[in-house]
Subunit: 344 residues, 4 copies
C-alpha cells in the first residue's frame, strides 16, 4: 500500500486527487496538509467529503516523512520547491502539480513566474511527467513535474506529427478552451457565476504562462526551437479542455496515413483514444484520465487540424499525477484510473 | 461474480448502471439489450464508453437466462412486465428501474399509466426497493421494484417523522426540483438546450405520476392514508433532485430532538448523511448513491422543513438499483458504490 | 424629460436601471454615483456599456439636487436613509431599491438588519412600491420603497386569494427559487462558477430577511397577522425567480372560479399575465417587467398551488423601480418597459 | 412606418426579429407567416410573446404584397428563392436571413447546398448585406442576402487587414465558438440539454457550409482567392459567437499601428467597438447588434490574433437584418437597435 500525502487538499486538483485515490486499491491518503483548514475534517471545505474521517494537518515535513511514501503538492508556484529537498531527503517521492519543476531551464521559470528558484540543482533531476512521452524516465525518478493542463492537451495532440517532422514549425496555432475549474477554487469577479455563465472570452493572449512550457516540449519533440500561437479561452462549463490545433504540413500525407501514424504512436497508451469516427467532446472524458483526439486534413491548404480533449482536473492534473505515481511505484499504469465519464 | 444484464443501456439510467458496475468488484456486465443499437459497441450511443468492448444485443430472454444472474430493466413502463415471468422462471433475479412493479395495488398502476398489467399476481411478490426501509424484505426477494427518483428523496425525508406520527397528515407539501437528466435521453423541445438553460419551470402540477407512488409509501409509513401537495420543477442542471418538504408538527418537539430522531433512524444507513450543519446541495451527491438531508423547525408556526437531496441517476435510479443487487446477492450493501461526488 | 440619478450603478440592479432607462423615451440618466469607480466611464465596470459616455461621480447630495428630478438608490441597507432627508428636501423624488424604507414598523427593520434607523419619521411617509397594489398611494408619494424580489413574486401571487379571505392563514408555504444575480455582483465562494453551476441548494431557512417583509404585506392584505413558511433556493441560472406557493382553501371554490378571480384582480395590471394554459417559466420574463402566474387546485386536499414568476432584476428590482418612477411623474405606467423577453 | 412581414416567426432568428421590431419606432410587424402555427397567436410557440395580439398566417405571397413593404425570410435554404421573384415583383423589399442569395456564383451554392437554384438571374442583383462593408450598395438594393453568423464575425475581424494586404493569405485560421441557438429551434440529440451542457465539441471540420461564404468575401476583400482553416465549435451557452482568428503578417507593423488601422476602418461603424483595453466577451453583446473586437501581435512569430465577438441572433442574424432594413428604407442605420446587452 502506498501511503500518500497531499498538500493543497481543498483546492480543485487536491480534491480530485482525494476523490480518485479513494478508489485506488493500492494507495491510501494518510496526510492532507492545508494552511486554512488545520484540524478540520475534509468535509468542511468540500461537502462531497462529508462522510470521510480524514482531517487536515499543518504543513510539516516531519509529518510527511513519517507518514508518506509519496507526496503530491497542489499549491501555487513556489510552494513545492520550498520543501522539496527536505521531503526527498526523507525518501518520499514527490509529484508537483504546480510549475516549480517543469522547466529544464530555471531562467525561463524565473522570468515567467517572477521568483527566484531556490533549488535549481534539484530541478535538473526532475522528470516532466507526461506519461505517454516519458514513461521510462518517470519510472526511475524521485521528483516528477506534473504537466500543466493546456500543455498536456496540446503536446499529446502534436507529438506524433512533430516526432515525424511533418509540420512547418512556424505555422502552429492552438486555440484552447477551458472549463472554469482550471482557474482554481478562489472566487474572483471573472468567475462569479452571473458574469461567467452564458459567456465566453479569450484571455492571456500571446503571454499565457503555459506558452513557454508548451514550447519547451514542442521544441524537444521537434528537435529544434518551436513556437506556437496559443490563445486560451474561458468557457462556461466546470471541467474540460478542448485544444483545436492546426499547422501546415511540409510533407504529402493524407488523412488516413495520419490516422495510422496517431494510432501507432499511441498503440500502448491506454488513456489516449484516437477517434477515427466522430469528434471528441469534453463530456466524454469528464472525471477521467482519458485524452480523446482526432484530426482532419484540408488538402487545399495542406493544413492539418487536430482536436485534443481532456478533463483539466483529470489527465490535466490529478489523473495524470496518479498515473505518474503508479509508474514511480511500479504499479500498473491504469490502477485506480479506470472509471468512465459521467455522461450525462 | 454476479453476471449482470441490462436492458435499456443507451438510456440515462442504463448508462449509469454500466458506469457504476465497471467499478463493482463482484459484478460484471455480460449482456446489454437494446432495440436501437443491436450489434453496435456501447461507445456508439455513449461516447464515454468508447474504450469498452461490450456490444448491444437484441432483447432476448434466452440470452438473458443463459448469461445473467441478475437483470436490470431500465425501459419505459410496460417493458419489464412483458418479460418478467420468463426471466424469473429462468432463475434470474430482476430489478426493474421502471414503474411496472412499484404499486401494491395494480389498479392504481393501470389508472395512472393507462395500460393493463399483464402479471398482477407477480406484482404481489415484488418488493419496493427503498433499501433503507425494506432491507430485510429485499434480501429475500427475486423481483425488486426500484423506486422513482422523486419518491426516493421525499420518502427518505419524511420516514422518521411519519414513523413517529409527528406530522399532521393533511399538511404535507413537497416542492421538488430535478435536473434535466430525469426526463430521459430523448431530445424534446422542452429540453432543447437554448430553451432549457437559464430557465426554470414547474410541470405536472397536482397530477404527476410519482404522486400515487409517493402517497402509497407515505401511507404505509404513517399507517393511514396520507396525501401530499407535490410540485416537481425542471431546473437547468444535468443531475440532482432537491426536495423541500414541509408539514405541520402535531407534537411539541424542537429542532435538536428531531435531529436526534433522524440520526437514530438512519444510524445504520451508510448512504444517508444527516447534516446538522450547513445545507445539502445537489453537487455534493453528484454521481453518488448518497442522500443528504437536513431539517429546520419554525416554532412560530410549528412547522418543520426537511431538505432531502439525491442524484436522480444515483440513489434515484442506478445507484439504488445496485444497492438492491448487493442485498439480493448477499454482498456488502455499499460494494461498488463508495465513490464520492465530483465537486467541482 | 425626467433627469435621473442612480447610486450603485455598478451593482446588478443599478446596471439594469441604466439598461432600461436608455430605452425610456422620457427619462435620461444624468448622474451615476459610485464609491469605487469615480471618474471612470460606466463601461469600465460593465463591458456592456463600453459605448456610453456617462462617467461615475462621487456620491454627493449637492450634485444630485442640482442634476436630478428622481434618484434611485441601489445600495446595501443603510445607504439610502443616510441621504434621504437631504435629497428629498431638495425636491428630488427618491426610490430606494434597498430595504431602508420597506417596513411600516422600524423596530422590525432594526431587529432584522441590525442597525438603527436614522430617520424613522421619514419612514412613515414612504410608500411600499408594489405598483399593482398601491398605485394610488405611489402617485402622490415622494419616497418609494421598492419591494424585494422574493416579496414581489409571493405577494402578487397571493394577493387575490388573501383579499378574498379564501386561505387558511396558518397553512401558507412558499418555496422560491432564484437565479444567482439575486445575490449581487460581489464574487463569493458560494457563487464561484464551478461550485454554483450544476448545483442547487436552499439557504436562509426560516430566517431569510425577506420573511418579515413578506409577512408584513400578507398581513396587510389579509387584515390580520399572517405568517408563512418561506424557503429560498439558489438555482444555477442568472436571472429569474419562481415562487411555488401553496395553502389550504377555507372556502369551496374550484380552479375555474379562482382563475376568474385572478383575471379580475389583475384586469388592469399590464405586467401581470395570468396564464390559463401552460405554466410560467423564468425565461419568458427574462429582462422584462412581467409577472407570469398560474394556479391549480387539488380538490382532494382542498389546497391551491400558485406559481408566480418574475425576473429578479426586472419586476423584482429595476423594472418595478421604473414603473414606480412613471407613476411618481405622471407618465404612462408602462413607458420604457415594453420590451419582451429574450427567448432564447 | 415600414410594414414588415416575417416568414419563420417561430424560429430563433424570427423570434429575435419580432423582439427587436417591437422596439423599432418606424416599423411594425403586420404579417407573420408560418407553416406550423397558422391561426395561432405568436405566444403559442414563444411564451415570451404571450401578451402580443399578432397571429400567424399561412405563407401566401398575395397577403405579403398587400400587407408588407419589407419581407424577412428566416427559413431553411430553398425557402426564400421559392417566392422571391413574386414578392419583389409586388414592390416588396426582401431580406433573406438564409443562404439562397449569398453566393455570387450560384454553382457554389448548388454544390454546397445540394439543390438547384431556381432564380440564378435574380441572384446577381442581390447584395451581400454586411452593412459595414457594403453600405452604399445596400441602400439601392431590393434584395439583400443577410450574412451568416460565423461569416459576419470573421469577415469583420479580417476586413481591415485584408484591405491593406497585410496578411499572408495562406496562413489564415479561424477557430470560432458558437452558442447553441445558432443551431436553430429544432430539438435534436446533440442539443439535448443533458448532452450539451458542460460539454464542448468541434463540428463540421474543414467542410462547414459557412466556409465557402467566408472565403468568397475574404477573396473579395483581398482581391485574390483566399482560403482559411475554419473550425466551428459548439459551446454550452445560448447566444454568442467568438471568432479567434490568426494569420501571418507580411509587413512589419506593430500592435499600435494595427489598432489605428482598425479604429480608422471602423470609425463610422457604430456597431463595431474596437477595444484597445480588455478582451471582448460574448455577454457584453448579448441581445445587441454590436461586434466587439480586439487584436494582439506576437512579434516573435509575426502573427496577429484577432478576436471578434457578436450575438449570433443579433449582428449574426436579426439585428443585422434590421440594420439592412434601415438602410433599404433610408432610416438611420441604428434605429431600433440601440439597446445594450443584458449583463448579467
Amino acid at each position: 500500500m502506498i501511503r500518500v500525502g497531499i498538500i493543497g487538499a481543498s483546492g480543485y486538483a487536491g480534491r480530485e486527487l482525494i476523490r480518485l485515490l479513494l478508489n485506488h486499491p493500492f494507495a491510501k491518503v494518510t496526510y492532507a496538509g492545508s494552511r486554512t483548514y488545520v484540524g478540520e475534517p475534509l468535509g468542511k471545505a468540500t461537502p462531497a467529503f462529508r462522510h470521510l474521517d480524514l482531517k487536515s494537518s499543518e504543513i510539516n515535513t516531519e509529518m510527511i516523512k513519517e507518514n508518506c511514501d509519496c507526496l503530491f503538492t497542489a499549491v501555487p508556484h513556489g510552494g513545492c520547491m520550498a520543501l522539496a529537498e527536505e521531503v526527498l531527503a526523507g525518501g518520499v517521492k514527490l509529484i508537483d502539480l504546480g510549475t516549480d519543476f517543469r522547466f529544464r531551464d530555471v531562467k525561463i521559470y524565473e522570468e515567467w513566474y517572477g521568483i527566484e528558484h531556490v533549488c535549481p540543482e534539484l530541478s535538473k533531476t526532475a522528470v516532466y511527467g507526461l506519461c505517454e512521452l516519458y514513461k521510462e524516465q518517470i519510472k526511475g525518478a524521485d521528483l516528477v513535474a506534473n504537466p500543466g493542463c493546456y500543455p498536456t492537451s496540446i503536446i499529446l495532440g502534436l507529438a506524433p506529427l512533430l516526432s515525424k517532422g511533418y509540420l512547418d514549425l512556424a505555422s502552429i496555432v492552438s486555440d484552447s478552451m477551458s472549463g472554469v475549474s482550471g482557474a482554481g477554487a478562489t472566487a474572483k469577479p471573472m468567475y462569479h457565476y452571473p458574469e461567467c455563465t452564458e459567456n465566453l472570452r479569450a484571455y492571456g493572449l500571446i503571454s499565457h504562462r503555459h506558452r513557454p512550457e508548451i514550447e519547451q516540449e514542442l521544441s524537444a519533440l521537434a528537435g529544434q526551437e518551436t513556437m506556437l500561437t496559443f490563445t486560451p479561452h474561458l468557457v462556461p462549463m466546470t471541467r474540460g479542455i478542448h485544444s483545436t490545433i492546426s499547422g501546415k504540413l511540409v510533407v504529402d500525407v493524407n488523412e488516413s496515413e495520419l490516422f495510422d501514424l496517431y494510432q501507432d504512436f499511441y498503440a500502448d497508451a491506454y488513456f489516449v483514444r484516437v477517434l477515427t469516427e466522430g469528434n471528441p467532446e469534453t463530456k466524454a472524458v469528464y472525471g477521467t484520465n482519458f485524452c480523446d483526439m482526432t484530426l482532419r486534413v484540408d488538402p487545399r491548404m495542406r493544413r492539418v487540424v487536430i482536436l485534443s480533449v481532456i478533463d483539466n482536473l483529470g489527465k490535466g492534473a490529478a489523473g495524470q499525477a496518479i498515473q505518474n505515481m503508479n509508474l514511480l511505484f511500479g504499479r500498473p499504469e491504469t490502477e485506480g484510473l479506470l472509471s468512465t465519464a459521467l455522461l450525462p
